[in-house]
Symmetry: D2
């Protein structure tokens, strides 16, 4: 009999991050791993690397979906990595692979991952990231967390409620 399928939690954020943002991402990665979920990320530097490092520290599994044609520049802390050759277009794949997505801080790439996830129905949790407004007021299209602990807890709940599709 096959084991039950794991949950996949994407962790998104900038490739160039502050020490504080990296600390948040590492703690998110640790908590994803401790919950037995698979961490998915863009696989490069900054928030991506810090999240993979957190997962590694807890003996968890991380999968990096890389922008380049090969593994050059990938985080050394990933368990597995998949080059795509699609440049920033790989952001779509990060959102696709996730049962829920945690956005940590973030620049435009992170915004694209948030937007894609919302477009295709993958729940998003924000941690010090973009706030989306329309017509002059906050559009509450995804919940926000105050801490890594809260962010991962919310993401796991949303992912479980949505149901795993495998």
């Amino acid at each position: 009999m096959s084991p039950p399928s794991p949950l996949y939690i994407a962790v998104c954020g900038p490739g160039v991050a502050s020490p504080e943002e990296e600390a948040l991402a590492e703690e998110v990665g640790r908590r994803v791993a401790r919950a037995g979920a698979v961490l998915v990320c863009g696989g490069m530097t900054g928030v991506m690397d810090a999240a993979a490092q957190g997962a590694e520290a807890e003996d968890g599994v991380s999968i990096g979906i890389l922008p380049g044609p090969d593994r050059t520049g990938a985080s050394p802390h990933l368990t597995y990595s998949l080059p795509t050759g699609m440049a920033e277009g790989r952001n779509v794949l990060v959102a696709r692979a996730a049962d829920a997505l945690v956005a940590v801080a973030g620049e435009f790439g992170t915004l694209s991952e948030i937007a894609f996830a919302l477009k295709i129905g993958v729940p998003v949790v924000g941690l010090r990231t973009w706030e989306l407004h329309r017509k002059g007021r906050l559009a509450e299209v995804f919940p926000t967390a105050e801490t890594p602990e809260e962010a991962v807890s919310m993401a796991l709940d949303l992912a479980s409620a949505r149901g795993n599709t495998r």
Copy 2:
């Protein structure tokens, strides 16, 4: 000798739009066509269809980059259409093809196109679309226009300033 390469202006917006939003999109399409630029869009309904209709009315050229595996459901007003089979992943291609992008209203798909364009350095002009905030205040990452006329004028200026890469 080859003719000078045209400018490409992407027009992005929701597939289900209000009559007012469609009127804005049609006028954007008209003005892109009158300027001799090529209109690029997602090629389906709503804002995409209205923009293509505007371009057609002015004998302009529009190219629809379609989400499906074939041309089913494409706007009948497109000059050319290209199925991709990439579903919402084709949003990346709409942004890539553009020298500047006009976002008209918009849901999550439009937000993903705005985000990708900003990520890869394609200028964006907003027309009654998302407002992006960070840390509690407006992040002025793209200019906004009040009218279709102003939006297209700004987009053409930004596209020209950026320089065409062909």
Copy 3:
């Protein structure tokens, strides 16, 4: 009323081609254009450039689906070009956009376009290109032509028989 939708004929072949192969590709491009069909290609050098040149000489329309993130290196003979940032992954899009595909000579990239077209049901015509064998004998999975005239005639017939999906 919208004009009837055009047929799209992809012309595929190597980026580094012999003068003879380029002459074949140019003649294919001429005949696609004369038939009023839209020529789709990978938009770069060699067979792609020669085909676009042929279409241009007959006042036809060609669309290049480019591998790079911008229009650098695109054939100057294209009517329209669309950067994808997907590297060789854009070969899938060339096949997707076609109602029929003509393969002129060809290396591995061309083989990938033939294979994708066959996989998704787009008719292929070969002109001095790969021959596919299985179990020691020729697998007649696509027809071959002896001349550009014959190749384009066969491709147009196959495309029309298949029916345009827009």
Copy 4:
């Protein structure tokens, strides 16, 4: 310190396979797993499922890169799976992720994976698959094996010789 990066071996073949082909694929999967390499495949039925089953039987790791927008229809024997929403376009990603690729039998999709791998420099080993001819004679563009044991041994050697890029 991070553990050494694994080798990735793609196993490609038809989604509808004969019992004999599935037996070959399962044995390929077993031997990839026993060598400690990560098995990458398209993640669906037939050869893909059989290969994943082989890897699972040896406590190995398999990653399925799925064509659909979610995990529906994925092999239950995969360790990890990543939906792409790119339909057959995901074949490009299977080739990209591999340090070497074993093609078992195969229809057009498999041919596209062989072609892409060759295009981007990923070594291919054939096991009762397509034979490629040009100008009336066999083009020996990839080696062939007689047994799963030989195929995996050759693939591992080629992957190691190429050098892992992480």
